[in-house]
Symmetry: C2
DNA sequence: TCCGGGACTGACACCGACGTCAGTACGGTC
DNA sequence: GACCGTACTGACGTCGGTGTCAGTCCCGGA
């Protein structure tokens, strides 16, 4: 009896399972995904899965962690004293990097923005603390910006929530509906919104 | 053997289970909540639960549906030709009604904003179509606003996502952390943000 | 006092998903 | 051709959680 179409090395097999599992998670959601489905999608036997991953939670965590790590690196502190790059450009670049990462691998983004909460108390904590970190970073930057008068007066904590939420929801909607949406158009739209809102009610 | 401390009528018992279950869901999340936990929290036996509710999904749906229905009613179309109420006031009132409903019952809000997605494919669809409805309503209003020059030019669909996301995330953060946050401060903060963003980068 | 029915109970049978492990296939080495 | 070692297989035992239902309790009417 033949096992797999092509004989593959261990790291390749691992990556293969990871990628296929990601697609299943994106399609079915974390809780609805059974090991059997991952295994079927990857064209391997049940036992093989456990040779490469501890359990469902472990493979899920690995998928999400990669993107979280990339995001963490992509967001860099705005330096208002950098002569070579305006604050506006730096902000825009941050938005662009986030958007690029998240629209590049839509399956993972969908997972991250809709299934990652509610997996497990420990995992929830990790995810929330990531958001906390991002939010704190934002708050600090906003406060600094207020002193330099490049950020409106007001509660910076609330602002950070509003900003994060606006971007998160847009990205979620785009990947959720599988809509094509031009990266740059989103970056510009979000940036403009952050600068001036959208209501002009005198 | 005594059964329950106080003898209660059927509708009261039902409501009691509903309320206690809501708290358990809020604390533990949908998937982590077992019928046994609801039953323990309500101080009733396993069998009793099934006298009142089909299953876990049914009681969860009932909890969430109530709030969704209230939200649906709370959001009213902005009428730019209403002489008695300015557009700004009407918008602000919509925000206020949403905020009031969601901060009034924080447990349910937490459930709605963090657990409700990923329960079940059918339930997901229902929830997403609710958001779709809200989003469409918003888009229409925004488009109308653009004609009247009270809304910035740009993609109204993106704007609706940005607006919804900003508000959702703020509310989520508030209930998630159990932070006290003044209703009116949030309404004002969100409204100001919608009108003018928060960046002032020339 | 006995009976009937409604509210409630909780032990139990069932089930679906999990993780394991004895076994199979196959490529290399002597 | 015999013998490993490695990658893989899938049937099977296990288990946590579910929903059920025969039985208990209690009250109100005859």
């Amino acid at each position: 009896m033949r096992y797999t179409s092509g004989s593959v090395g261990k790291p390749e097999r691992r990556q293969q399972i990871l990628t296929l599992a990601r697609d299943v998670f994106a399609r079915r959601g974390y809780h609805a995904t059974k090991i059997d489905e991952i295994v079927a999608a990857a064209g391997i036997a049940r036992g093989t899965f456990y040779l490469y991953f501890e359990d469902k939670r472990a493979i899920f965590e690995e998928i999400v962690d990669r993107t979280i790590a990339r995001l963490g690196l992509a967001i860099v502190r705005v330096d208002p004293h950098d002569a070579s790059r305006s604050v506006a450009d730096q902000v825009r670049d941050n938005i662009r990097r986030i958007v690029r990462i998240l629209l590049e691998d839509r399956a993972t983004t969908k997972i991250l923005l809709s299934d990652a909460l509610g997996v497990d108390p420990a995992f929830d904590r990790k995810l929330l603390s990531f958001y906390d970190e991002m939010s704190s970073l934002l708050e600090t930057s906003l406060r600094e910006g207020q002193e330099l008068q490049v950020v409106a007066v007001g509660d910076v904590r609330l602002m950070s929530w509003l900003l994060m939420g606006a971007l998160k929801e847009s990205l979620f909607q785009i990947v959720q509906r599988g809509a094509e949406y031009d990266d740059e158009k989103l970056v510009d739209g979000a940036f403009d919104f952050f600068c001036a809102g959208c209501l002009r009610v005198t």
